[in-house]
């Protein structure tokens, strides 16, 4: 059953000033989380064009994470 577990492919847009910094801090503190997200660093989540989100779904993303 383990192989059939859903491992989502997630694309994350992280704000350089907060969420990206928080993700770094999670690393420094060695918090462990599943390796299912790939990230795009932006200077502000205000940069995220809705078209990016749609395109990511087209490219096969199961979910989008926006952190800002």
């Amino acid at each position: 059953m383990a192989d059939q577990q859903f491992n989502p492919s997630i694309l994350g847009f992280l704000c350089n000033w907060c969420c990206y910094a928080a993700a770094d801090a999670a690393g420094v503190s060695r918090f462990q989380y599943p390796p299912s997200m790939r990230t795009v660093r932006v200077m502000c989540t205000g940069r995220i064009d809705p078209a990016f989100v749609l395109r990511a779904f087209v490219e096969g993303a199961d979910g989008i994470f926006s952190g800002g």
Binding site: S9, L11, N16, Y20, A21, A23, D24, A25, A26, G27, V28, S29, R30, F31, Q32, Y33, P34, P35, R38, T39, V40, R41, V42, M43, C44, G46, R47, I48, D49, P50, F52, R55, A56, V58, E59, G60, A61
Partner: protein, 937 residues
């Protein structure tokens, strides 16, 4: 920056001091340490962690916290096995970068300096003072500092609140205020100013963790006098935090709980059981205060804080030595940050003659031209970071994977990409393989991008031809148990970065020259202080004043609580401004229009009266907003209707006069008249001190005068608490009233009557005093006009809103515009002066530099595509986009110097006409496409 250092001696005079410093060995070479943390993992000895208030165990070799500066580990010699017993040394071979050096010796260093800033912070309250609350006797009585570490997500319990006795989650919690403050028993008569606010914060945080927990705060007065602080108290009350006005007698263990005994205002003694008790401990003077005073010969006040006066709040008793932060008096973060800027401006003014000397400018090789159609040649460097990355991620596989990608002409691995020798390798490979894009897969761009960009510049490449992949902080460190998946993630991230790198283009480095002149709006004490401070630093300013003359609200004040004469100081200040060749004063003046951006403003100013009114255009680089405020006159309590009802300001004027009856025989003072949820929603910070100052004056003139003060919370924060105590000793009666049971003032014939509920006697009382003095609040002078003119945000209470409440307290969100004085929020004169000095310090930064550097990642508008809809202008939070007429058509244009690169404009432009440097649509789309192209990994 010299850390781990002791200040031993100071010789010489202002402008030419010699300071002797002892540098304690850290036993780690700071340049070689990569802060990987391996040494701490291997060190076998336990060490109680002082940074975490002793709540956690660390090792003698450690770093206090992840964001510590410098990011270098150190060895605490008190518990290191080698330094104590010459054994162990396990850390030495463990450290991959050979940074550990037990041969380091203490080093004495002499520094030739011109000015000294003292900022040693505050000390801790003696645990003896806490004993009556069972602190040290029962594990579930903690100090607020310990509790702060407990609730911190990055603290030893990751934010989990629990009782130390048995690990259970507390259901009932109490905060006890004024522990070690307002307590002459421990010789701390002063109020620590910050504890009420931090207790509320900690209560709010606790409620976020567990909404069910029952929290009571026991207090004498809630002193949330800071800007918008009352709102936090109201928020806490709204989510169920209880506030009980009481004096806590003791806390005693009771089975596995704690019993708190307290006395309420009406004289009742009560008991309550709690699971956890937090002691809101005050701020003590720094431990080394006396030692610092001995070295520097500065004066201390009676509580061992640095002695200063109201009009020179940061000047110590020694020339060339200034103070900042809690050593000057207990204070919170925004005020400490403000003081630090102000202290820097005072030091900078005294060092003006040597400014810029001893600075060496680095010269870079000429930048290689990389044209858009040049062949893209990408170099990929995969970092092992010792074993930080390579112990989880298969770095060789990642590098080889990158090598197969289109346009990647070179790929390799580095042990430490950030090391000096690796930088040389990168530079060599750039030249050898004619690389014109560099991708480094290593740690975080937030910490290391500037270093690698510097390497690119040294190699003659534009620094923007660079992309970083984070495979340490956001991969190997967080997926330690899943090496295969972490390697796949690393490959994916490298693929996305290479895809972006193919499209990155060199971006121009822009600088914009600065007009070295300031426009200061408002010539009260704030504006005058700011303009004079700038003059002392060597800069011109135009000081514009709406009224007939300069001086502002200070003209209405006559003495301070500390007893200083206000009018003679004001006269000196006004004379200085008038005599200064660097300050150009315009009265009856107002700002009509401003165009431009930081460094390059052009403002139209109208000045003069009637026919003499003229308009002129002034070019300037910065703007300091000091438009001030005024007394709020509520239409309540017969103010303006009865001659026997006056404001504190009117009473002050009367007391400063010569009339024989100026200090009446009986006075009732009503605090918060029209404030805190009445006409005004906020606390005006100064009114309690204002009342106290008048009380002491009345008593000085007429010792028999009977004074009753009706108040909600007496907010005599800091050292003003002494005056409150003195007044009570003189027999002045202070009676609290509740917000829903306000006093009433009525007229009965020639008399006024005050009726109120006496919460101490528990009965209604009527008095007929000779005079009723109202402590009314402060409202800002018109901020709407300026807010619209300069696009400056204001708070709900119409004061200007700073860019960041804690970190940028005197800057506004529009670059090059600063704020100080009452326009920012109500505050007393000493705080206004400090804030004005701080605003001048911040404003001087671009003026000193002479240019403003524009980050190349700002937005740019392709005017062919722009349809002039103006959406971007309305969305830009920084006022960094304007509409221009180009060939008769409306077109958007970015003011690069004001742009903060957020990209909101680019995300919303309906015609994709706006692009962000380094974050173009094409680049982000290429990353998304590469994200999906998982087939070839």
């Amino acid at each position: 920056m010299l850390t781990n250092a002791d200040f031993l001696a100071l010789e010489g005079t202002a402008g030419n001091f010699t300071a002797t410093i002892n540098l304690r060995p850290r036993y780690i070479d700071a340049d070689a340490c990569t802060a990987c943390g391996l040494c701490t993992q291997y060190c076998p000895k336990h060490h109680v962690d002082p940074y975490n208030e002793g709540l956690a165990i660390t090792r003698p070799i450690h770093i206090d916290y992840a964001q510590a500066v410098p990011a270098t580990y150190y060895i605490d010699p008190s518990s290191c096995l080698f330094l104590q017993h010459e054994t162990c040394q396990i850390c030495v071979p463990v450290c991959q970068s050979h940074a550990i050096n037990f041969k380091q010796q203490p080093e004495e260093r002499k520094l030739n300096i011109g000015a000294v800033i003292l900022s040693p912070g505050f000390g801790k309250i003696d645990p003896k003072t806490l004993a009556k609350f069972s602190y040290g006797k029962h594990p579930d009585v903690v100090t607020s500092f310990e509790y702060e570490r407990m609730t911190t997500a990055s603290g030893p319990f990751m934010g989990e609140v629990k009782c130390f006795s048995d690990g259970r989650h507390p259901k009932r919690m109490a905060f006890i205020q004024c522990v070690g403050s307002r307590d002459i028993g421990c010789n701390n008569g002063y109020c620590s100013s910050v504890c009420c606010m931090y207790a509320i914060k900690e209560a709010l945080v606790t409620k976020e963790h567990d909404p069910e927990v029952d929290i009571t705060i026991y207090y004498m007065d809630i002193r949330t006098q800071g800007k918008d602080f009352d709102a936090a108290r109201e928020r806490a009350e709204a989510i169920g935090v209880k506030f009980v006005r009481a004096k806590v007698a003791d806390v005693t263990p009771w089975e596995n709980h704690l019993q708190l005994t307290y006395a309420t205002l009406d004289g009742q003694h009560k008991f309550e059981p709690f699971d956890l008790v937090v002691l809101s401990v005050g701020l003590e003077s720094p431990k080394d205060a006396q030692k610092i005073a001995d070295i520097t010969k500065i004066d201390l006040n009676k509580y061992d804080f640095c002695a200063t006066d109201s009009f020179n709040p940061l000047q110590t008793s020694q020339q060339g030595i200034v103070v900042a932060g809690a050593f000057q008096g207990p204070k919170d973060i925004p005020e400490s940050v403000t003081q630090s800027s102000a202290a820097a401006s005072l030091a900078a003014a005294s060092l003006k003659a040597v400014r810029g000397k001893g600075v060496e400018m680095k010269i870079y090789p000429e930048e290689q031209v990389v044209a858009a159609d040049d062949e893209v040649r990408i170099g990929v460097f995969v970092c092992h970071c010792g074993i930080n990355i390579s112990s989880v991620v298969d770095c060789a596989a990642v590098a080889n994977y990158a090598g197969d990608m289109k346009n990647v002409t070179f790929y390799t691995e580095n042990l430490y990409s950030c090391s000096q020798d690796a930088q040389e390798v990168i530079k060599k490979k750039i030249k050898e393989h004619k690389l014109n894009r560099v991708v480094i897969a290593a740690c975080s761009p937030r910490t290391h991008e500037p270093l690698f960009q510097e390497t690119l510049r040294d190699a003659g490449l534009n620094r923007n031809l660079f992309e970083m992949v984070n495979i340490r902080d956001q991969c190997s460190w967080v997926h330690a148990g899943e090496p295969e998946l972490a390697t796949i993630k690393s490959k994916d991230l490298v693929r996305m970065a290479v895809a972006k790198a193919r499209l990155i283009q060199p971006l121009p480095e822009q600088t914009v020259p600065v007009t070295a002149k300031a426009l200061v709006i408002g010539a009260g004490v704030a504006g005058m202080t700011a303009a004079l401070n700038l003059a002392e630093q060597g800069f011109d300013s135009v000081l514009i004043e709406k009224g007939d003359g300069i001086g502002g609200n200070l003209q209405n004040l006559h003495y301070t609580l500390a007893g200083d004469a206000v009018q003679s100081h004001l006269k000196t200040l006004v004379d200085k401004v008038k005599q200064s060749k660097k300050v150009d004063v315009l009265c009856n003046a107002e700002l009509v229009q401003t165009a431009g951006f930081i460094g390059n403003f052009a403002s139209v100013i109208a000045s003069g009266k009637g026919k003499a009114r003229v308009e002129q255009t002034v070019d300037h680089g910065v703007i300091i907003v000091a438009t001030g405020g005024r007394e709020h006159r509520p239409d309540k309590y017969l103010l303006g209707k009865s001659k026997k009802v006056v404001t504190q300001q009117e009473l002050e004027k009367q007391l400063a006069g010569k009339a024989k009856t100026r200090a009446p025989g009986s006075i009732v003072m009503i605090q918060c008249a029209g404030s805190r949820g009445d006409d005004l929603n906020y606390c005006s910070k100064v009114c309690c001190n204002h009342a106290l100052k008048n009380i002491l004056k009345v008593k000085e003139i007429n010792p028999d005068s009977q004074i009753v003060v009706l108040y909600r919370d007496m907010r005599t924060y800091g050292f003003a608490e002494d005056a409150y105590l003195e007044a009570r000793k003189m027999g002045v009666v202070f009676i609290p009233y509740e917000v829903d049971l306000k006093p009433e003032v009525t007229e009965k014939g020639a008399k006024v009557q005050v009726r109120f509920f006496d919460s101490i006697m528990q009965e209604e009382v009527t008095m007929s005093p000779d005079l009723v003095a109202l402590s009314v609040g402060i409202v800002p002078d018109d901020t709407d006009t300026l807010s619209k003119l300069l696009k400056l945000p204001v708070t709900a209470n119409k004061f200007f809103l700073e860019a960041h409440v804690k970190l940028r307290p005197v800057e506004l969100s529009v670059s090059g515009v600063y704020v100080c004085g009452l326009a920012h929020g109500p505050k007393p004169v000493d705080e206004t002066i400090v804030q004005a000095q701080a605003a001048a310090a911040k404003a001087a930064i671009p003026l000193v530099k002479g240019y403003v550097k524009v980050d190349p990642i700002v937005s740019s508008v392709e005017q062919d595509k722009c349809i002039g809809c103006g959406l971007c202008v309305s969305l830009c939070p920084y006022g960094a986009i304007v509409m221009q007429k180009v060939d008769g058509k409306r077109k958007a244009e970015t003011i690069s110097a004001s742009c903060k690169a957020c990209g909101i404009c680019a995300a919303h432009c309906p015609t994709f006409a706006i692009s962000m440097g380094g974050f173009t649509n094409e680049q982000i789309n290429s990353q998304i496409e590469a994200f999906g192209a998982t087939g070839d990994r």
